[in-house]
Amino acid sequence: MNTFSYTRANDVADAVQNGSVKTNFKFIAGGTNLLDLMKENVERPDHLIDLSRITLKEIEDTADGGLRLGALATNANTAYNQKVEERYPLLSKAILAGASPQLRNMATNGGNLFQRTRCYYFYDLATPCNKREPGSGCSAINGYNRIHAILGTSEHCIATHPSDMCVALAALDAKVNVTGIHGEKVIDFADFHRLPGDQPQFDNILEPGDVVTSLDLPKNNLSKHVTYLKLRDRQSYAFAIVSVAAALELDGDVIKDIRVALGGVAHKPWRIKSAEIALIGKAATVENFKVLAENLLADAKGFGSNTFKIELAKRAIVRALTEVAKAI
Protein backbone atom coordinates (compact mmCIF):
# COMPACT_ATOMS: atom_id res chain seq x y z
CA MET A 1 0.00 0.00 0.00
CA ASN A 2 1.29 3.49 -0.82
CA THR A 3 1.40 6.25 1.76
CA PHE A 4 -1.48 8.70 1.89
CA SER A 5 -2.93 11.43 4.05
CA TYR A 6 -6.29 11.10 5.74
CA THR A 7 -9.14 13.50 6.39
CA ARG A 8 -12.38 12.73 8.18
CA ALA A 9 -15.34 14.55 6.68
CA ASN A 10 -17.82 15.98 9.20
CA ASP A 11 -20.72 16.27 6.76
CA VAL A 12 -21.49 16.17 3.04
CA ALA A 13 -20.49 19.80 2.47
CA ASP A 14 -17.18 19.13 4.21
CA ALA A 15 -16.62 16.05 2.02
CA VAL A 16 -17.39 17.96 -1.18
CA GLN A 17 -15.20 20.88 -0.09
CA ASN A 18 -12.29 18.54 0.70
CA GLY A 19 -12.74 16.81 -2.62
CA SER A 20 -12.66 20.12 -4.47
CA VAL A 21 -9.19 21.05 -3.16
CA LYS A 22 -7.44 17.68 -3.37
CA THR A 23 -6.13 15.71 -6.33
CA ASN A 24 -5.76 11.96 -6.68
CA PHE A 25 -8.01 11.35 -3.69
CA LYS A 26 -10.57 8.67 -2.90
CA PHE A 27 -13.60 8.80 -0.70
CA ILE A 28 -13.70 5.88 1.73
CA ALA A 29 -16.78 4.61 3.55
CA GLY A 30 -16.79 0.87 4.36
CA GLY A 31 -13.47 0.45 2.61
CA THR A 32 -14.08 -3.24 1.88
CA ASN A 33 -13.19 -2.94 -1.80
CA LEU A 34 -10.97 0.16 -1.80
CA LEU A 35 -8.54 -1.10 0.87
CA ASP A 36 -8.29 -4.43 -0.91
CA LEU A 37 -7.37 -2.63 -4.14
CA MET A 38 -4.93 -0.38 -2.28
CA LYS A 39 -3.19 -3.41 -0.77
CA GLU A 40 -2.78 -4.73 -4.32
CA ASN A 41 -1.51 -1.31 -5.50
CA VAL A 42 -4.31 -1.20 -8.07
CA GLU A 43 -5.54 1.97 -6.35
CA ARG A 44 -2.88 4.39 -5.12
CA PRO A 45 -4.61 7.50 -3.81
CA ASP A 46 -2.58 10.30 -2.23
CA HIS A 47 -5.46 11.23 0.07
CA LEU A 48 -8.38 9.42 1.65
CA ILE A 49 -11.46 11.39 2.63
CA ASP A 50 -13.38 9.34 5.19
CA LEU A 51 -17.15 9.60 4.83
CA SER A 52 -17.99 6.96 7.41
CA ARG A 53 -18.92 9.32 10.24
CA ILE A 54 -21.38 11.35 8.18
CA THR A 55 -24.95 10.83 9.41
CA LEU A 56 -26.49 9.41 6.24
CA LYS A 57 -27.47 6.12 7.83
CA GLU A 58 -31.27 6.41 7.95
CA ILE A 59 -33.73 4.35 5.97
CA GLU A 60 -36.93 6.35 5.76
CA ASP A 61 -40.19 6.71 3.87
CA THR A 62 -40.38 9.21 1.02
CA ALA A 63 -43.41 11.44 0.42
CA ASP A 64 -44.49 9.44 -2.64
CA GLY A 65 -44.63 6.12 -0.82
CA GLY A 66 -41.13 4.96 -1.64
CA LEU A 67 -38.10 4.46 0.53
CA ARG A 68 -34.88 6.46 0.87
CA LEU A 69 -31.75 4.49 1.78
CA GLY A 70 -28.99 6.54 3.37
CA ALA A 71 -25.72 6.17 1.48
CA LEU A 72 -23.89 5.29 4.68
CA ALA A 73 -26.35 2.72 6.01
CA THR A 74 -24.55 -0.60 5.93
CA ASN A 75 -25.55 -3.31 3.50
CA ALA A 76 -26.47 -5.51 6.50
CA ASN A 77 -28.67 -2.88 8.14
CA THR A 78 -30.38 -2.28 4.80
CA ALA A 79 -30.99 -5.95 3.97
CA TYR A 80 -32.43 -6.64 7.44
CA ASN A 81 -34.42 -3.40 7.68
CA GLN A 82 -38.07 -4.27 8.17
CA LYS A 83 -39.35 -1.82 5.57
CA VAL A 84 -36.88 -3.11 3.00
CA GLU A 85 -37.74 -6.73 3.79
CA GLU A 86 -41.47 -6.06 3.48
CA ARG A 87 -41.59 -3.65 0.53
CA TYR A 88 -38.40 -4.41 -1.41
CA PRO A 89 -37.55 -8.04 -0.63
CA LEU A 90 -35.70 -8.25 -3.96
CA LEU A 91 -33.14 -5.82 -2.57
CA SER A 92 -32.74 -7.77 0.68
CA LYS A 93 -32.22 -11.00 -1.21
CA ALA A 94 -29.67 -9.49 -3.56
CA ILE A 95 -27.65 -7.90 -0.75
CA LEU A 96 -27.63 -11.12 1.27
CA ALA A 97 -26.44 -13.06 -1.78
CA GLY A 98 -23.26 -10.98 -1.82
CA ALA A 99 -20.05 -10.94 0.23
CA SER A 100 -19.93 -12.28 3.80
CA PRO A 101 -21.69 -11.11 6.97
CA GLN A 102 -18.52 -9.35 8.17
CA LEU A 103 -18.16 -7.45 4.91
CA ARG A 104 -21.88 -6.59 4.76
CA ASN A 105 -21.52 -5.15 8.28
CA MET A 106 -18.94 -2.69 6.96
CA ALA A 107 -19.92 -2.11 3.33
CA THR A 108 -22.27 0.82 2.73
CA ASN A 109 -25.07 1.39 0.24
CA GLY A 110 -23.22 4.24 -1.42
CA GLY A 111 -19.95 2.35 -1.51
CA ASN A 112 -21.59 -0.68 -3.10
CA LEU A 113 -22.12 1.38 -6.26
CA PHE A 114 -18.38 1.99 -6.52
CA GLN A 115 -17.17 -1.60 -6.39
CA ARG A 116 -14.64 -2.18 -9.10
CA THR A 117 -14.50 -5.19 -11.34
CA ARG A 118 -13.09 -8.50 -10.16
CA CYS A 119 -11.39 -9.11 -13.52
CA TYR A 120 -8.18 -10.96 -12.64
CA TYR A 121 -6.17 -8.87 -15.10
CA PHE A 122 -7.42 -5.64 -13.51
CA TYR A 123 -6.00 -6.91 -10.20
CA ASP A 124 -2.72 -8.15 -11.71
CA LEU A 125 -0.26 -5.29 -12.14
CA ALA A 126 1.95 -7.48 -14.32
CA THR A 127 -0.64 -7.64 -17.13
CA PRO A 128 -2.05 -4.98 -19.47
CA CYS A 129 -5.51 -3.65 -18.54
CA ASN A 130 -7.26 -0.68 -20.11
CA LYS A 131 -9.36 -0.13 -17.02
CA ARG A 132 -6.34 0.08 -14.72
CA GLU A 133 -3.94 1.65 -17.21
CA PRO A 134 -5.76 3.22 -20.17
CA GLY A 135 -4.21 2.37 -23.51
CA SER A 136 -2.24 -0.63 -22.25
CA GLY A 137 -4.59 -3.19 -23.79
CA CYS A 138 -7.09 -5.80 -22.59
CA SER A 139 -5.64 -9.11 -21.44
CA ALA A 140 -9.03 -10.73 -20.98
CA ILE A 141 -10.36 -10.61 -24.55
CA ASN A 142 -7.87 -13.21 -25.75
CA GLY A 143 -7.09 -14.52 -22.28
CA TYR A 144 -8.90 -16.54 -19.66
CA ASN A 145 -12.30 -14.89 -19.56
CA ARG A 146 -14.65 -17.28 -17.78
CA ILE A 147 -16.00 -14.55 -15.48
CA HIS A 148 -16.17 -11.85 -18.10
CA ALA A 149 -18.92 -9.97 -19.88
CA ILE A 150 -21.06 -11.19 -22.77
CA LEU A 151 -23.12 -8.01 -23.24
CA GLY A 152 -22.19 -4.39 -23.85
CA THR A 153 -18.51 -5.18 -24.27
CA SER A 154 -16.03 -3.20 -26.33
CA GLU A 155 -12.73 -4.02 -27.96
CA HIS A 156 -11.12 -2.23 -25.00
CA CYS A 157 -12.72 -4.02 -22.04
CA ILE A 158 -14.90 -7.02 -21.22
CA ALA A 159 -14.99 -6.57 -17.43
CA THR A 160 -18.17 -7.13 -15.43
CA HIS A 161 -19.59 -5.10 -12.57
CA PRO A 162 -19.41 -7.32 -9.46
CA SER A 163 -22.28 -6.01 -7.32
CA ASP A 164 -25.40 -8.01 -6.47
CA MET A 165 -27.12 -5.08 -4.76
CA CYS A 166 -26.82 -2.97 -7.91
CA VAL A 167 -28.64 -5.61 -9.97
CA ALA A 168 -31.66 -5.29 -7.68
CA LEU A 169 -31.39 -1.48 -7.65
CA ALA A 170 -31.49 -1.53 -11.46
CA ALA A 171 -34.57 -3.76 -11.46
CA LEU A 172 -36.28 -1.51 -8.91
CA ASP A 173 -35.71 1.73 -10.92
CA ALA A 174 -33.74 3.28 -8.07
CA LYS A 175 -32.57 6.86 -8.21
CA VAL A 176 -29.16 8.00 -6.99
CA ASN A 177 -29.01 11.29 -5.09
CA VAL A 178 -25.69 13.04 -5.50
CA THR A 179 -24.14 16.21 -4.09
CA GLY A 180 -21.16 17.74 -5.88
CA ILE A 181 -19.31 20.96 -6.37
CA HIS A 182 -22.12 22.25 -8.59
CA GLY A 183 -24.93 21.29 -6.21
CA GLU A 184 -27.33 18.38 -6.07
CA LYS A 185 -28.43 16.06 -8.85
CA VAL A 186 -30.56 12.95 -9.24
CA ILE A 187 -29.41 10.15 -11.52
CA ASP A 188 -31.55 7.26 -12.79
CA PHE A 189 -29.89 4.05 -11.76
CA ALA A 190 -29.84 2.85 -15.35
CA ASP A 191 -27.64 5.83 -16.23
CA PHE A 192 -25.34 5.72 -13.21
CA HIS A 193 -22.93 3.04 -14.41
CA ARG A 194 -21.58 3.12 -17.94
CA LEU A 195 -20.47 0.65 -20.58
CA PRO A 196 -16.73 0.43 -21.22
CA GLY A 197 -16.61 1.87 -24.76
CA ASP A 198 -13.19 3.39 -25.36
CA GLN A 199 -12.89 4.68 -21.77
CA PRO A 200 -13.19 1.61 -19.53
CA GLN A 201 -11.32 3.42 -16.78
CA PHE A 202 -14.60 5.18 -15.93
CA ASP A 203 -17.11 2.91 -14.20
CA ASN A 204 -19.81 5.55 -13.77
CA ILE A 205 -20.84 9.02 -14.91
CA LEU A 206 -19.98 10.93 -11.72
CA GLU A 207 -17.60 13.86 -11.74
CA PRO A 208 -14.65 14.02 -9.34
CA GLY A 209 -15.81 15.13 -5.92
CA ASP A 210 -19.42 13.96 -6.34
CA VAL A 211 -20.75 12.31 -3.17
CA VAL A 212 -23.64 9.85 -3.27
CA THR A 213 -25.91 10.82 -0.39
CA SER A 214 -28.83 8.38 -0.73
CA LEU A 215 -30.72 5.98 -2.97
CA ASP A 216 -34.45 6.35 -3.58
CA LEU A 217 -36.65 3.34 -4.29
CA PRO A 218 -39.94 4.28 -5.96
CA LYS A 219 -43.17 2.68 -4.81
CA ASN A 220 -44.15 -0.49 -6.66
CA ASN A 221 -46.29 -3.61 -6.35
CA LEU A 222 -43.41 -5.99 -6.78
CA SER A 223 -42.99 -7.38 -3.28
CA LYS A 224 -44.84 -10.68 -3.71
CA HIS A 225 -43.18 -12.39 -6.66
CA VAL A 226 -39.46 -11.78 -6.44
CA THR A 227 -36.25 -13.72 -6.49
CA TYR A 228 -32.56 -13.13 -6.81
CA LEU A 229 -31.08 -16.16 -8.52
CA LYS A 230 -27.31 -16.19 -8.25
CA LEU A 231 -25.30 -18.82 -10.06
CA ARG A 232 -21.70 -19.12 -8.89
CA ASP A 233 -18.84 -21.53 -8.44
CA ARG A 234 -19.59 -22.18 -4.77
CA GLN A 235 -22.82 -21.86 -2.88
CA SER A 236 -21.90 -18.89 -0.73
CA TYR A 237 -19.45 -16.02 -0.66
CA ALA A 238 -18.54 -15.98 -4.35
CA PHE A 239 -19.17 -13.54 -7.17
CA ALA A 240 -21.89 -14.27 -9.69
CA ILE A 241 -21.18 -16.08 -12.94
CA VAL A 242 -24.71 -15.04 -13.86
CA SER A 243 -27.35 -13.55 -11.59
CA VAL A 244 -30.98 -12.63 -12.21
CA ALA A 245 -33.07 -10.15 -10.25
CA ALA A 246 -36.64 -11.02 -11.18
CA ALA A 247 -39.91 -9.49 -10.06
CA LEU A 248 -43.48 -9.89 -11.24
CA GLU A 249 -46.77 -8.23 -10.48
CA LEU A 250 -49.55 -10.61 -11.48
CA ASP A 251 -53.29 -10.39 -11.96
CA GLY A 252 -54.20 -14.06 -11.96
CA ASP A 253 -51.66 -15.36 -14.42
CA VAL A 254 -51.51 -12.12 -16.40
CA ILE A 255 -48.37 -10.01 -16.09
CA LYS A 256 -49.11 -6.47 -14.88
CA ASP A 257 -45.50 -5.47 -14.23
CA ILE A 258 -42.25 -7.29 -14.77
CA ARG A 259 -38.60 -6.55 -14.02
CA VAL A 260 -35.57 -8.57 -15.02
CA ALA A 261 -32.01 -7.39 -14.46
CA LEU A 262 -28.88 -9.46 -14.97
CA GLY A 263 -25.61 -9.43 -13.02
CA GLY A 264 -22.26 -10.92 -13.94
CA VAL A 265 -22.80 -10.40 -17.66
CA ALA A 266 -21.86 -6.78 -18.36
CA HIS A 267 -20.00 -3.66 -17.24
CA LYS A 268 -23.23 -2.63 -15.50
CA PRO A 269 -26.45 -4.37 -14.43
CA TRP A 270 -28.15 -5.44 -17.66
CA ARG A 271 -31.76 -4.58 -18.27
CA ILE A 272 -33.81 -3.94 -21.44
CA LYS A 273 -37.08 -2.21 -20.56
CA SER A 274 -38.66 -2.74 -23.98
CA ALA A 275 -38.28 -6.52 -23.55
CA GLU A 276 -40.16 -6.28 -20.25
CA ILE A 277 -42.91 -4.03 -21.62
CA ALA A 278 -43.50 -6.53 -24.44
CA LEU A 279 -44.68 -9.04 -21.84
CA ILE A 280 -47.12 -6.79 -19.99
CA GLY A 281 -50.68 -8.05 -20.46
CA LYS A 282 -49.45 -11.49 -21.47
CA ALA A 283 -49.62 -14.73 -19.52
CA ALA A 284 -46.85 -15.70 -17.09
CA THR A 285 -45.81 -18.77 -19.04
CA VAL A 286 -42.48 -20.45 -19.74
CA GLU A 287 -42.94 -19.69 -23.45
CA ASN A 288 -43.27 -15.97 -22.81
CA PHE A 289 -40.36 -15.98 -20.38
CA LYS A 290 -38.25 -17.62 -23.09
CA VAL A 291 -39.08 -14.79 -25.47
CA LEU A 292 -37.91 -12.28 -22.88
CA ALA A 293 -34.70 -14.27 -22.30
CA GLU A 294 -33.95 -14.34 -26.03
CA ASN A 295 -34.53 -10.59 -26.28
CA LEU A 296 -32.30 -9.81 -23.30
CA LEU A 297 -29.46 -11.91 -24.71
CA ALA A 298 -30.02 -11.01 -28.38
CA ASP A 299 -26.78 -9.05 -28.67
CA ALA A 300 -24.70 -11.39 -26.48
CA LYS A 301 -21.22 -12.27 -27.62
CA GLY A 302 -18.89 -14.84 -26.02
CA PHE A 303 -15.11 -14.71 -25.88
CA GLY A 304 -14.33 -18.40 -25.52
CA SER A 305 -14.17 -19.30 -21.84
CA ASN A 306 -17.34 -17.33 -21.09
CA THR A 307 -19.48 -18.31 -24.09
CA PHE A 308 -21.41 -20.77 -21.90
CA LYS A 309 -22.84 -17.80 -20.04
CA ILE A 310 -25.15 -16.92 -22.95
CA GLU A 311 -27.19 -20.10 -22.66
CA LEU A 312 -26.78 -20.11 -18.86
CA ALA A 313 -28.23 -16.59 -18.61
CA LYS A 314 -31.23 -17.47 -20.77
CA ARG A 315 -32.03 -20.54 -18.68
CA ALA A 316 -31.48 -18.61 -15.45
CA ILE A 317 -33.99 -15.96 -16.55
CA VAL A 318 -36.63 -18.56 -17.39
CA ARG A 319 -36.00 -20.46 -14.15
CA ALA A 320 -36.14 -17.32 -12.00
CA LEU A 321 -39.37 -16.05 -13.57
CA THR A 322 -41.00 -19.49 -13.48
CA GLU A 323 -40.19 -19.79 -9.79
CA VAL A 324 -41.56 -16.37 -8.89
CA ALA A 325 -44.70 -16.89 -10.97
CA LYS A 326 -45.46 -20.00 -8.93
CA ALA A 327 -44.83 -18.34 -5.57
CA ILE A 328 -48.32 -17.01 -4.88
Partner: protein
Protein backbone atom coordinates in the same frame (compact mmCIF):
# COMPACT_ATOMS: atom_id res chain seq x y z
CA UNK B 1 9.53 1.45 6.99
CA UNK B 2 8.16 4.75 5.77
CA UNK B 3 11.02 5.17 3.27
CA UNK B 4 10.36 1.72 1.92
CA UNK B 5 6.71 2.52 1.25
CA UNK B 6 7.59 5.84 -0.34
CA UNK B 7 10.00 4.15 -2.66
CA UNK B 8 7.55 1.42 -3.53
CA UNK B 9 4.79 3.86 -4.40
CA UNK B 10 7.13 6.31 -6.10
CA UNK B 11 8.06 3.80 -8.76
CA UNK B 12 4.45 3.61 -9.97
CA UNK B 13 3.40 7.22 -9.73
CA UNK B 14 3.89 9.89 -12.31
CA UNK B 15 2.38 12.57 -10.06
CA UNK B 16 4.32 14.07 -7.16
CA UNK B 17 4.02 12.08 -3.96
CA UNK B 18 2.03 13.78 -1.19
CA UNK B 19 3.87 14.99 1.88
CA UNK B 20 4.42 12.09 4.29
CA UNK B 21 1.43 11.76 6.58
CA UNK B 22 2.11 12.62 10.19
CA UNK B 23 1.23 9.84 12.61
CA UNK B 24 -2.16 10.65 14.04
CA UNK B 25 -3.51 10.04 17.51
CA UNK B 26 -5.98 7.17 17.48
CA UNK B 27 -7.94 6.18 20.56
CA UNK B 28 -9.26 2.64 20.66
CA UNK B 29 -11.16 1.00 23.48
CA UNK B 30 -10.00 -2.58 23.28
CA UNK B 31 -11.57 -5.18 25.53
CA UNK B 32 -12.65 -2.46 27.95
CA UNK B 33 -9.30 -0.70 28.14
CA UNK B 34 -8.44 2.61 26.52
CA UNK B 35 -5.39 2.64 24.23
CA UNK B 36 -3.97 5.78 22.63
CA UNK B 37 -1.73 5.16 19.64
CA UNK B 38 0.35 7.36 17.39
CA UNK B 39 0.03 5.62 14.04
CA UNK B 40 0.09 6.35 10.34
CA UNK B 41 -3.27 6.39 8.54
CA UNK B 42 -2.50 3.29 6.47
CA UNK B 43 -2.27 0.97 9.50
CA UNK B 44 -5.16 -1.49 9.41
CA UNK B 45 -7.10 -2.21 12.58
CA UNK B 46 -5.66 -5.73 12.41
CA UNK B 47 -2.07 -4.49 12.33
CA UNK B 48 -2.81 -1.97 15.10
CA UNK B 49 -4.09 -4.78 17.30
CA UNK B 50 -1.27 -7.20 16.57
CA UNK B 51 1.79 -5.05 15.95
CA UNK B 52 1.14 -1.90 17.97
CA UNK B 53 -0.74 -3.19 21.02
CA UNK B 54 0.22 -6.85 21.17
CA UNK B 55 -3.20 -8.50 20.91
CA UNK B 56 -1.97 -11.35 18.73
CA UNK B 57 -5.04 -13.50 19.29
CA UNK B 58 -6.58 -11.87 16.21
CA UNK B 59 -4.97 -13.62 13.24
CA UNK B 60 -3.81 -12.40 9.86
CA UNK B 61 -4.83 -14.96 7.27
CA UNK B 62 -5.34 -13.52 3.80
CA UNK B 63 -5.28 -9.80 4.72
CA UNK B 64 -7.89 -9.28 1.97
CA UNK B 65 -11.23 -9.87 3.70
CA UNK B 66 -11.64 -13.34 2.28
CA UNK B 67 -10.79 -15.74 5.13
CA UNK B 68 -12.29 -14.24 8.30
CA UNK B 69 -9.32 -15.09 10.57
CA UNK B 70 -9.10 -11.41 11.58
CA UNK B 71 -12.75 -11.10 12.64
CA UNK B 72 -13.31 -8.85 15.66
CA UNK B 73 -16.37 -7.14 17.13
CA UNK B 74 -16.65 -3.37 16.80
CA UNK B 75 -19.43 -1.99 18.99
CA UNK B 76 -20.72 -5.59 19.11
CA UNK B 77 -20.78 -6.03 15.33
CA UNK B 78 -18.44 -8.50 13.60
CA UNK B 79 -16.14 -7.13 10.93
CA UNK B 80 -12.89 -8.06 9.17
CA UNK B 81 -10.21 -6.05 10.99
CA UNK B 82 -7.90 -6.30 7.96
CA UNK B 83 -10.36 -4.37 5.77
CA UNK B 84 -10.64 -1.27 7.92
CA UNK B 85 -8.11 1.35 8.97
CA UNK B 86 -7.43 1.83 12.69
CA UNK B 87 -7.84 5.59 12.23
CA UNK B 88 -11.39 5.03 10.95
CA UNK B 89 -12.23 3.27 14.24
CA UNK B 90 -11.08 6.11 16.48
CA UNK B 91 -13.23 6.16 19.63
CA UNK B 92 -14.95 2.84 18.97
CA UNK B 93 -15.15 -0.23 21.22
CA UNK B 94 -13.34 -3.26 19.94
CA UNK B 95 -13.63 -6.76 21.32
CA UNK B 96 -11.03 -9.33 20.34
CA UNK B 97 -10.78 -12.98 21.28
CA UNK B 98 -8.78 -11.91 24.35
CA UNK B 99 -11.75 -9.89 25.58
CA UNK B 100 -14.47 -12.53 25.43
CA UNK B 101 -13.66 -14.36 28.65
CA UNK B 102 -14.16 -12.96 32.14
CA UNK B 103 -10.87 -13.77 33.86
CA UNK B 104 -10.60 -17.54 33.79
CA UNK B 105 -14.31 -17.93 33.01
CA UNK B 106 -14.53 -18.67 29.28
CA UNK B 107 -17.21 -17.16 27.07
CA UNK B 108 -19.97 -19.72 26.29
CA UNK B 109 -18.83 -19.79 22.66
CA UNK B 110 -15.27 -20.61 23.72
CA UNK B 111 -16.59 -23.40 25.97
CA UNK B 112 -18.75 -24.74 23.16
CA UNK B 113 -15.78 -24.86 20.77
CA UNK B 114 -13.93 -26.98 23.34
CA UNK B 115 -16.99 -29.17 24.02
CA UNK B 116 -17.35 -29.95 20.30
CA UNK B 117 -13.66 -30.11 19.40
CA UNK B 118 -14.39 -27.37 16.88
CA UNK B 119 -10.83 -26.77 15.74
CA UNK B 120 -7.75 -28.60 14.58
CA UNK B 121 -4.77 -26.33 13.91
CA UNK B 122 -6.58 -23.45 15.62
CA UNK B 123 -5.41 -20.62 13.39
CA UNK B 124 -8.89 -19.65 12.20
CA UNK B 125 -10.44 -20.24 15.63
CA UNK B 126 -10.28 -16.72 17.12
CA UNK B 127 -11.99 -15.40 14.01
CA UNK B 128 -14.50 -18.25 13.99
CA UNK B 129 -15.40 -17.60 17.65
CA UNK B 130 -15.70 -13.82 17.26
CA UNK B 131 -17.75 -14.33 14.11
CA UNK B 132 -19.99 -16.84 15.87
CA UNK B 133 -20.54 -14.38 18.75
CA UNK B 134 -21.44 -11.73 16.18
CA UNK B 135 -23.83 -14.16 14.49
CA UNK B 136 -25.65 -14.79 17.81
CA UNK B 137 -25.82 -11.01 18.44
CA UNK B 138 -27.40 -10.50 15.00
CA UNK B 139 -30.11 -13.09 15.69
CA UNK B 140 -30.69 -14.02 12.04
CA UNK B 141 -29.66 -17.69 12.14
CA UNK B 142 -32.61 -19.97 12.87
CA UNK B 143 -31.29 -23.34 11.73
CA UNK B 144 -28.21 -25.20 10.56
CA UNK B 145 -28.58 -23.95 6.98
CA UNK B 146 -28.68 -20.34 8.21
CA UNK B 147 -25.61 -20.91 10.38
CA UNK B 148 -23.67 -22.36 7.45
CA UNK B 149 -24.60 -19.42 5.23
CA UNK B 150 -23.93 -16.80 7.90
CA UNK B 151 -20.56 -18.32 8.82
CA UNK B 152 -19.43 -18.45 5.19
CA UNK B 153 -17.07 -15.54 5.79
CA UNK B 154 -14.84 -17.75 7.95
CA UNK B 155 -12.72 -20.31 6.18
CA UNK B 156 -11.33 -23.33 8.07
CA UNK B 157 -8.58 -24.96 6.03
CA UNK B 158 -8.64 -28.02 8.34
CA UNK B 159 -12.32 -28.47 7.58
CA UNK B 160 -13.70 -28.43 11.14
CA UNK B 161 -17.00 -26.97 9.91
CA UNK B 162 -19.26 -29.74 11.22
CA UNK B 163 -18.00 -29.26 14.77
CA UNK B 164 -17.98 -25.46 14.48
CA UNK B 165 -21.65 -25.60 13.49
CA UNK B 166 -22.39 -27.93 16.43
CA UNK B 167 -20.73 -25.48 18.83
CA UNK B 168 -22.78 -22.57 17.52
CA UNK B 169 -26.00 -24.59 17.72
CA UNK B 170 -25.21 -25.34 21.37
CA UNK B 171 -24.75 -21.66 22.23
CA UNK B 172 -27.82 -20.68 20.24
CA UNK B 173 -29.82 -23.16 22.32
CA UNK B 174 -28.42 -21.69 25.54
CA UNK B 175 -29.33 -18.17 24.42
CA UNK B 176 -32.91 -19.19 23.60
CA UNK B 177 -33.57 -21.26 26.75
Amino acid sequence: MLDFFKQASGSHETTLAPPPAEPAEVRLNINGQQHTLQIAPWVSLLDALREYIGFTGTKKGCDHGQCGACTVLVDGVRINSCMTLAIMRDGQEITTIEGLSHGKELHPMQKAFIDHDAFQCGYCTPGQICSAVGLINEGKANNLEDIKELMSGNICRCGAYTNINAAIIQVKGEVQS
